[in-house]
Symmetry: C2
């Protein structure tokens, strides 16, 4: 079956500091006209940062949309024009205070392809050494060093629910 949709029109509804929201008018494969509500996001990176061979760093932070503190791997948004590896090194240091001797790209994911264009590029960081923590003054983060097997158990038990964190483990 031909699945393509043809965009007939795209009208901006909201333009914020981070997000943009558009309504797209599309022609469906059967010729019918429909509308799609689409959020545009700059995309970002997430990092499996190995403190030792079998421990990684998790960040605990308050997430306003779900009004909860949750555990995630270090992550952050791409700045305008920034390449993904630079973003990875910047976010790793800002959130954890570490620089990495070795960075490996593991793959990319799309978080909510039904309504949002956000891609997250996932990296593995090894050979960590002290850098300088901080840089984003709106972030308040607690760091945890957790065994990889413990993280996998926490995922299965529902104690870690963040999709990028869970997905990262399928890419190693």
């Amino acid at each position: 079956m031909k699945c393509l949709e043809k965009t007939l029109e795209e009208k901006n509804q909201f333009k914020g500091k981070i997000l943009t929201l558009d309504i797209k008018t599309v022609e469906l494969p059967n010729g019918k006209i429909s509308e799609r509500e689409i959020v545009k996001h700059p995309g970002g990176v997430a990092i499996l940062a190995y403190k030792t061979d079998n421990t990684i760093i998790l960040v605990e932070q308050f997430r306003s949309p779900i009004e909860k503190n949750i555990l995630e791997i270090p992550a952050g948004k791409l700045e305008k024009g920034e390449d993904i590896e630079t973003c990875c090194r910047r976010e790793l240091e800002e959130e954890t205070g570490y620089k990495a001797g070795k960075i490996t790209f593991l793959g990319k994911i799309v978080t909510s392809p039904g309504f949002c264009d956000e891609y997250i590029h996932i990296f593995k960081a090894e050979d960590l050494y002290e850098g300088q923590i901080g840089g984003d003054e709106d972030e308040f983060i607690n760091l945890h060093e957790v065994e990889v097997q413990k993280v996998k158990d926490m995922i299965k038990k529902g104690e870690i629910i963040d999709a990028k964190t869970i997905s990262a483990f399928m890419l190693i």
Copy 2:
């Protein structure tokens, strides 16, 4: 470190058929005032539907936000007041044409907790039998029956990038 943010005000910026976008004014742990752009989404379900002991059903569909056809496990949005298992059975039948003799809840994920409140509840469906395909006239879907090991390989190769699909495999 205390990480909570206190919401001082929440102003709606967009209200669509599916999405709502608000700007929240929050007080950070250091007393500073900041703003958060927050997308509200009804949430949904995603289903690891086992056609046989070692094959699952993937749906291929065009995703307008990323302008691509991608492979995902069957999934869909919660309707107002719908419980998650009813949604699971409805979406499974609408998207694949199958009903399930056995449904097991595997866990929930949050897709983009930095800006969105979307939770996806993931289920395993077994003992499939013929139902009736269709129901959502804006969806155009190709079905694929793929071996579980092949799906895992496709995730590692970057041929499957959808976060809920990838996450589901960490929950079995």
